[in-house]
Structures are given as structure tokens and as C-alpha cells.
């Protein structure tokens, strides 16, 4: 029962974030699954993507009915995303996870300050 409440709470928070920002739900779900539910990384990521998809489709419906969808940009980005997925898998074998993480952190810190100011 207590576990069920935790799962529902996690879902609501992740859904709120997904709806609000259309991103970042996974950045909450994966750490909670590994730390609170003691899942290993691969399982946590897989379960996370499965759980996030319905949230994304739901939010997408609201963005769509408010005319926020730009198909041209979307399709071009998705195309790049497919290429990036392949490249990423290769890059991970060359560059270490740490280097990528540090780059990501610097970028995030810079941009979040830019967004707030």
C-alpha cells in the first residue's frame, strides 16, 4: 500500500513536469526508480520511457489543440534525432560518460541562468 502511494505520487509529479515543460519527466523518474525502488539503471530507463510515453501523448494533445505544434520543425528535428541516436551509441564507446556528463552540466548551468535572467 505504501509502495503504491509512492508509485502514484511519482507518476503525478512526473506527469506535472512533462505537461508543464514537455521534458524532464525522465530526469525525475530514473533517479527515483534507482534510489527509492532500487532498480538497476537499464531497467529504470526502460520502465521510465514506458511510463512517460502516455504522459507525452496526453500533453501533446493539449499543445496540439492550442496550435503549438510546428510540424516542419518537428519532422526535421526527429530526422536529426534518428541520426543522433546512432552517433550517440558510437560516441559513448569513444568518449567517457564522465566527459559527456561534465559537458552536459556546464551547458545546463549556463542555459538555466540565461533563462532566469
Amino acid at each position: 500500500m505504501k509502495n503504491m502511494i509512492k508509485k502514484i505520487l511519482l507518476g503525478i509529479v512526473a506527469g506535472l513536469i512533462s505537461g508543464l515543460f514537455a521534458a524532464g519527466g525522465g530526469m525525475i523518474v530514473v533517479p527515483i526508480l534507482t534510489h527509492v525502488f532500487k532498480m538497476d539503471e537499464a531497467k529504470a530507463r526502460a520502465t521510465c520511457i514506458f511510463a512517460i510515453l502516455p504522459m507525452v501523448i496526453t500533453s501533446g494533445f493539449f499543445y496540439y489543440s492550442n496550435n503549438f505544434i510546428d510540424w516542419q520543425t518537428g519532422v526535421k528535428c526527429a530526422l536529426g534525432g534518428i541520426i543522433g541516436g546512432f552517433l550517440g551509441a558510437k560516441l559513448l564507446k569513444i568518449a567517457s560518460n564522465k566527459v559527456l556528463k561534465i559537458t552536459f552540466i556546464i551547458f545546463l548551468a549556463y542555459v538555466s541562468i540565461k533563462l532566469i535572467i
Binding site: G11, I49, T58, G60, L87, F107, L108
Partner: protein
């Protein structure tokens, strides 16, 4: 062309499990000047096909924990309805600011996990040294 490049970068980051969608939205809105709402909606389009492919492979590999995934997904839909309703009615400047605050939290968490990664590595190195010493 810039859009395709943005997609490539986000795809690479997604592979590392560090929020490819966040990067996509940030490049579109902060660097290309696309409206925050449209940038966010673009990520939704971006996410669906890639995640469906990922789900199919992970089902085959039996990696999804259904007992946790299903309740999280269902309650997540409720959260998403509330979140999306708030988001589409919020003005762009506020939305950007809140996104910024959220990203600062994520940055702090990423720094914490990086430190943990370093600690784990140095521990492993110590163990290796210890084993070597014992052997000789």
C-alpha cells in the same frame, strides 16, 4: 538545417540517458529564438517515435518493470493533464523562468551524481590495488 543539427545533438544526448529532450527545447528556444511553447511541443513530436522504438526493444529484452511502470503511467496521465493545462495558459516569459528554475535543480542533481561516479571509480581503483598487493 539547424533543426536537423539540433535533432542530431539531442539524439546523441538521449543515448547517454541525460535528458535529450531538455537539450532540444533549450537549443530551439534559447539559441534559435523559437517560442517556448512551440519548442516544447516539438519535443513531444520528437519523443513519440524514438520512445516507441525503445519500448519495443526493451519489451523484448524484458527490461520493463510493469508493476511499477503501469501505475506510474496511469497517475502520470492525470499529472500531465494538469501540467499541460497550466502550461498552455501560461505566458511565455513565466514559463521560461520556471523551466530555468527546474533546470537548476537538475544541474545540482547531475553534479551530485557526477561526484558519486568519481567516488565509485576511486574505490574500485583502490580495490584493484589491494588485490594486486595481495597477489604479490
Amino acid at each position: 538545417m539547424m533543426e536537423v543539427l539540433t535533432g542530431v545533438i539531442s539524439g546523441v544526448v538521449s543515448g547517454t540517458g541525460m535528458g535529450g529532450g531538455t537539450i532540444l527545447i533549450l537549443i530551439l528556444s534559447v539559441f534559435m529564438g523559437i517560442d517556448q511553447h512551440i519548442a516544447q511541443a516539438t519535443n513531444l513530436i520528437f519523443f513519440v517515435p524514438t520512445s516507441i522504438t525503445a519500448i519495443i526493444t526493451t519489451i523484448k529484452d524484458k527490461l520493463i518493470d510493469w508493476k511499477i511502470g503501469i501505475p506510474v503511467a496511469i497517475s502520470g496521465i492525470i499529472g500531465a493533464i494538469v501540467g499541460a493545462k497550466i502550461s498552455v495558459n501560461m505566458d511565455v516569459e513565466h514559463l521560461k523562468k520556471y523551466f530555468g528554475y527546474f533546470l537548476i535543480l537538475i544541474t545540482i542533481y547531475e553534479i551530485y551524481s557526477l561526484i558519486k561516479l568519481y567516488k565509485k571509480d576511486s574505490k574500485r581503483n583502490n580495490n584493484v590495488n589491494y588485490n594486486l598487493e595481495r597477489r604479490f
